[in-house]
Symmetry: C2
Subunit: 515 residues, 2 copies
């Protein structure tokens, strides 16, 4: 079966069921109802504090085949997933599915648990490091489900991702299960990705290293949904939150791309009061923010909000009054954590409010502009951020597809060559984000506008920007580096790439070394 | 059929269905799942602003027989219910059920709509004024459902009270449906009673007179659940929020009762760090807070939280450092509104977190003490706050039964005579709050302790408090005023009194004048 992008999909997948093919970014609409977890009751004087994780497992009880969920706000500093899975292994549990919003190198111990059958399913929005490597090599019998950040919230709220037990790393908690992410030595800022888990899991466990008197304040996740509170030595290392990519690039090529991306925004007429903006934590994305900031100051405009993973750079723009608000689903550095704790204009939101396509309206819908990266983009503007040039998994959508779908203008910034390989191809290996939601590609050698947006192209041409046809840019890159060859691939499907609406936009096949 | 308190109940009620008899305050546990409203989608650039209420009715569309819900934070200053129902009447709608968390004299126009068949059902936690009078007289064919504030949240979350359209009076809103109650000329403070409606109604309408730029901040109710935003001239009059009963009593008898209630708390050993407290807005309740405050200061203790409807008096205790936090589901005066807007220690919570018995733990469960009133109390400590001595409806539980069930020590304060009638009777006309959840009755002539709490009685006796048997106090009152006669009643059931767990604790029969 083919989806609307011509990608070959299996009709059903063992361990997943019937595949709904992607049919267009807004073609699939919801028809069902929200997940309905069991009602509960907790009597006065009942105690939710449990001595240790093992005891929590016994009380619930966690059984073979269950789905355990986790959030990734500690990124590569996460300390909860490994602790919980070590208990699962110790207790002899089998066949668990791990629904972890993103997987990092720190989660390497999961590979052994996959080999031994403790973990047989993985549901995530992004992965890098040893787990990604092992999945690419085919360690799991069942394909991994890749979702978007908004799609994960949708899948949990709509019951497609049914979570049995949510383990929530809680930088601060009280004994009745109120949680926030902003207090204590392991503060991580927003807990937004854990909101759907807390609301819809059948059982919710707060795992904290910072027990506070009742009532905790502020409250990000409420006692109404938390069944157990367990205190551990350490839930994570906040240093691991900060990625090396949260600094503005110093590379002159990257700066040129960023400057041009900012000019695109200006030419589109968006540097105006009420401007809203999302940018990732990549160096070129942040550099774009840098140029946008200069333009906003020069034009004396006040933006409405910046959205997404929040960096110190966006915090400084808030503090300068360039944005009225930050809308924060995840902090990318310690400045973001300080700001969300202290500044009432810095709003914590859940993943559903951030980006779920199936509620009464998410924040990405209100975006003027999003700046995104790409590992590959094709001449139909489809973007791959899941697999690398060797065909191995090295990322995932995260909020990529969500923000692209929501924003009025979606700009991909990328060097024409990635390593020594052209970034523009005829067909990306793995479609993450459909081309119909991508408006502009900015490279150091020119700017390509999606033919679906002729009015935007005209504005950029009028502004004197170096607009080229995407095929022309592709030819230019191939002249420098030759046409890239698609990597060899095995037959086995190791991952399904789900679009935010629950349809399958592509699959990832097992890694196969070049012969 | 009789329930566990011996109250005669019908097995089924037309328009309500099978009656589940009350079986004890904690005897009925949940067995089902939460309400699952329809999934939705809202595309980027979609507009939620609608010109007027009539247009909202057409877009939804509101149909005959639907349940429309409203919150009562404006109390007797509410301006939304009457506006919305006027539109319903104009459009010729019939057979609507109004789920309004409390009904006040300002809602008098509803009586005509009941007579004309526009409104045929009422679901509420409290009512006073012309609607209560008309219901007592039998204006509706179907009985009114009286719930508790926590029980209403439970009923909505569990789907027993299925709301088709929630109209939320929004003191501030943006064009995408984010709402708060703390900004603008009609700020009312906490919007807690509207939280379940917003979360579980099939359609949610924000009705505002203060449209703010996107994104609104703070956000109390999120855009994720709000379908339409409509701007009207005025949503209410904040002056109507303040009731005449939010001042400390000056009556020497009332002060004596209050002083003794405070002594009960002290004798119970609860004036200690971490003390938690709820008191209503009645004069004697507030006077109790006054004496408790003195004791807390003298003992140099810091309480954890005060809960409930929040008054300026509790705000001053927060500001003095006597409580670390206020947990606020409803503001009772302008000081409460100021405080919840400006003080991060003053927490806004929904009705479910406040008091629902069927979630993972509500705030009333963490109460040390609650001070409550009564229109009648019987020798088994059952309390009536629904009907007056003439048998007419003049109130309702509100949070009465919830706080009584949750608190470690529940104290009812009351004059031995109400008007000229003894307050203690053999059997209250209408049981609102079961005696097993009421621990102490404090009157000006003595203190009675529920025989279920011998250890508490011993503490009070040891402290030298004037402890009497409740039968003794009853006899004392009857000696002064004679034994009260139960008022005559009609046959027709005009209201079902639902306990917080969804069982029926009593019924109210039609008013019948004395012959």
């Amino acid at each position: 079966m083919k989806n609307s992008l011509g990608r070959m999909l299996p009709e059903t997948v063992a361990g997943f069921g019937a595949v709904k093919p992607f049919a267009g970014a807004f073609a699939t609409t919801p028809s069902g109802v929200r997940k309905a977890p069991r009602q509960k009751t907790v009597l006065p004087k009942a105690n939710k504090l449990v001595d240790n994780l093992e005891e929590v497992f016994r009380r619930i009880p966690v059984r073979d085949g269950m789905t355990l969920s986790f959030h990734h706000h500690f990124r590569n500093g996460d300390g909860v997933v490994n602790q919980v899975l070590a208990v699962a292994a110790k207790l002899g549990l089998r066949d668990l599915t791990i629904a972890l919003s993103s997987v990092f190198p720190v989660h390497a111990p999961m590979v052994e648990l996959m080999k031994s059958g403790v973990v047989t399913g993985l549901d995530t929005d992004y992965m890098s490091g040893p787990v990604a490597e092992a999945v690419s090599q085919g360690v799991l019998a069942k394909p991994v489900i890749f979702r978007t950040h908004g799609g994960r919230a949708r899948a949990i709220e709509c019951g497609d991702l049914a979570v049995d037990v949510a383990f929530i790393a809680a930088p601060a908690a009280d004994d009745y299960g109120n949680i926030n992410g902003v207090q204590g030595e392991t503060a991580c800022g927003s807990l937004g990705y854990a909101f759907p888990d807390a609301e819809y899991a059948e059982v919710v466990v707060a795992v904290t290293d910072n027990l506070q008197p009742y009532p905790l304040h502020p409250i990000s996740i409420s006692q109404e949904r938390v069944d157990y509170v367990v205190v551990v030595d350490k839930i994570g290392d906040p240093k691991g939150i900060v990625s090396g990519t949260t600094q503005i690039t110093k590379d002159p090529v990257g700066l040129k791309i960023a400057a041009n991306a900012a000019k695109v925004i200006q030419a589109a007429g968006l540097i105006r009061d009420g401007f809203s903006f999302q940018t990732g934590a990549g160096g070129a994305s942040l550099a774009t923010a840098h140029f946008v900031r200069k333009m906003m100051k020069a034009a004396n405009v006040t933006g409405s909000f910046a959205l997404g993973g929040i960096t110190g750079y966006l915090v400084s723009m808030l503090e300068e009054g360039l944005f009225r608000n930050l809308i924060d689903v995840q902090g990318f550095d310690l400045e973001a954590i300080r700001s969300i704790r202290d500044n009432p204009r810095h709003l914590e939101v859940g993943a559903g409010m951030y980006a779920s396509p199936f509620n009464a309206g998410c924040a990405v819908n209100k975006l003027d502009v999003v700046i995104l990266g790409a590992t590959e983009i094709d001449t139909a503007f489809n973007v791959n951020v899941v697999t690398g040039s060797d065909g191995k998994i090295m990322g995932g959508s995260g909020g990529h597809s969500d923000a692209a779908a929501g924003a009025s203008v979606t700009i991909v910034v990328a060097n024409l060559l990635r390593g020594r390989l052209p970034i523009i191809v005829d067909n990306v290996l793995t479609v993450t984000t459909p081309g119909e939601t991508v408006d502009v590609l900015v490279t150091e050698r020119g700017i390509a506008v999606n033919p679906l947006r002729p009015e935007l192209k005209e504005k950029l041409v009028t502004a004197g920007l170096p607009v080229r046809d995407i095929a022309e840019l592709k030819a230019l890159a191939e002249k420098m580096a030759g046409a890239p060859k698609a990597p060899p691939q095995g037959e086995k499907i190791v991952a399904l790439v789900e679009y935010r609406d629950g349809t399958i936009i592509d699959v990832v096949r097992q890694y196969k070394a070049c012969e």
